[in-house]
Amino acid sequence: MEVSRAIAVTINGTEYERDVEARKLLIHFIRDDLDLTGSHIGCDTGNCGACSVIVDGVLVKSCMMLAVQADGTTIETVEGLAEAGELTPLQQSFSDHHALQCGYCTPGMLMSATALLRSNPNPSEAEVKKALQGNICRCTGYWNIIEAVKAVGK
């Protein structure tokens, strides 16, 4: 057993090697150690989903995973969505549908919706709602977010 260990993770195509304490949550590692501040923290109970990232293709809340558990994984965060400065259709759709106001939940929403659209390119409204249940938004009431995701599906 050890209180810290060296880990290597690939995030948005860049490989990072760091020593981390075993107690450090993945979200703190991403935000504080790597300065990738796009993923946010909105609660301390795993409810809000603002910290959602995709680890080896699986959507997770990075506040309920230890950084040491990410050793050897490939992680996608919101900063990696737009390629060459070109917004993804989903990001553009969020803007077109006014699916964000303060923008704090948006990175997590985008990661959840991205994961959904990969497994289900043309989701129904019910499927979109179910897929976004783990992400809290306090500004929009979700309606425009749901529309934005559905629009990309169509």
Binding site: M1, R23, T45, G49, M64, K130, Q133
Partner: protein
């Protein structure tokens, strides 16, 4: 956020995991972490060490036996159970797992973690108690098999003792099951829940009303018999901000009846 200092080990086998657990009194197994890590954020409970079970193939897998018996590795995630063709042999499993929390939690949370945590509001303790699951527990002294009814000992306490691990969950064949819950918002935390199984005689297990699932054996599957059985069990449900003891006890009856109806209906089909 901001956990206490904790030691960490990532064993490569169940045997190694057991050795580490046996050697470290304060260490706990880390499954999906969707409960444990949150408790550690609150610094309410603080294990001295975490033995990470993620990646142990021995604890994965969902197998369907020739006799219809399901054998599920405790590290199977809710998502894996929802998507497993084998798990559909007992349809209620996937149906209930799909109601737990949200996509992210289902992607990481495990069946083993859910029942070993045994939070009173969890979905799976009453369900597994109702459908007569059997838990295989491994320790220094080898393996033993514990029926669900004896598995749950108290809040956050199960038959899995220090230095032991849950290694298998075995579920007999059957389709005539039901589940009902009143939750905090759509598919939210359970305020009260009940599971029923009518494979042979009817068995109903009620959650959220005590430290462990309350199992009753109604004389028959008709509403009154079920209601009687639950009422007769002398529930002393805890009160909290979401429900008075009286309301919880009432829900226990209503939901038991609904779960039993669903089970009966499926028995008919």
């Amino acid at each position: 956020m901001l956990l206490r200092e904790v030691e960490y080990a990532k064993p490569s086998s169940v045997a190694e995991a057991l050795t580490i657990l046996a050697a470290n009194d304060g260490a706990r197994a880390l499954a999906g972490g969707q409960t444990l890590i949150n408790v550690m954020k609150a610094r309410a409970a603080s294990p001295d060490g975490l033995v990470d079970l993620n990646g142990l193939a021995e604890l994965k897998g969902i197998d369907l036996g020739a006799d219809g018996t399901l054998s599920i590795g405790p590290m199977a995630t809710y998502t894996e159970i929802c998507n497993s063709a084998e798990a559909r042999a007992r349809p209620i499993l996937g149906e209930v797992c799909a109601q737990i929390a949200d996509v992210q939690v289902r992607n990481r949370g495990t069946i083993g973690g859910n029942i070993c945590a045994n939070d009173p509001t969890n979905h799976l303790p009453p369900l597994l108690a109702a459908i007569g699951a059997q838990m295989t527990i491994a320790g220094a002294g080898g393996e033993r098999v514990v029926p669900a009814e004896e598995f749950f000992i108290g809040v956050y306490l199960t038959a899995v003792g220090p230095g032991e691990l849950l290694t298998r969950i075995t579920i007999p064949a059957g389709k005539a099951d039901g589940f009902a819950a009143v939750t905090l918002g759509a598919d939210g935390t359970c305020i009260a829940n009940a599971a029923a199984s009518l494979n042979g005689s009817l068995r109903v297990a009620v959650g959220c009303v005590g430290a462990v699932p309350l199992v009753v054996h109604p004389a028959s599957a008709d509403d009154d018999a079920v209601r009687e059985a639950v009422r007769g069990a002398g529930i002393d449900a805890p009160s909290d901000v979401h429900a008075s003891s009286e309301y919880r006890s009432h829900l226990a009856e209503v939901l038991s009846v609904r779960a039993a109806r669903q089970a009966t209906q499926r028995a008919g089909t």
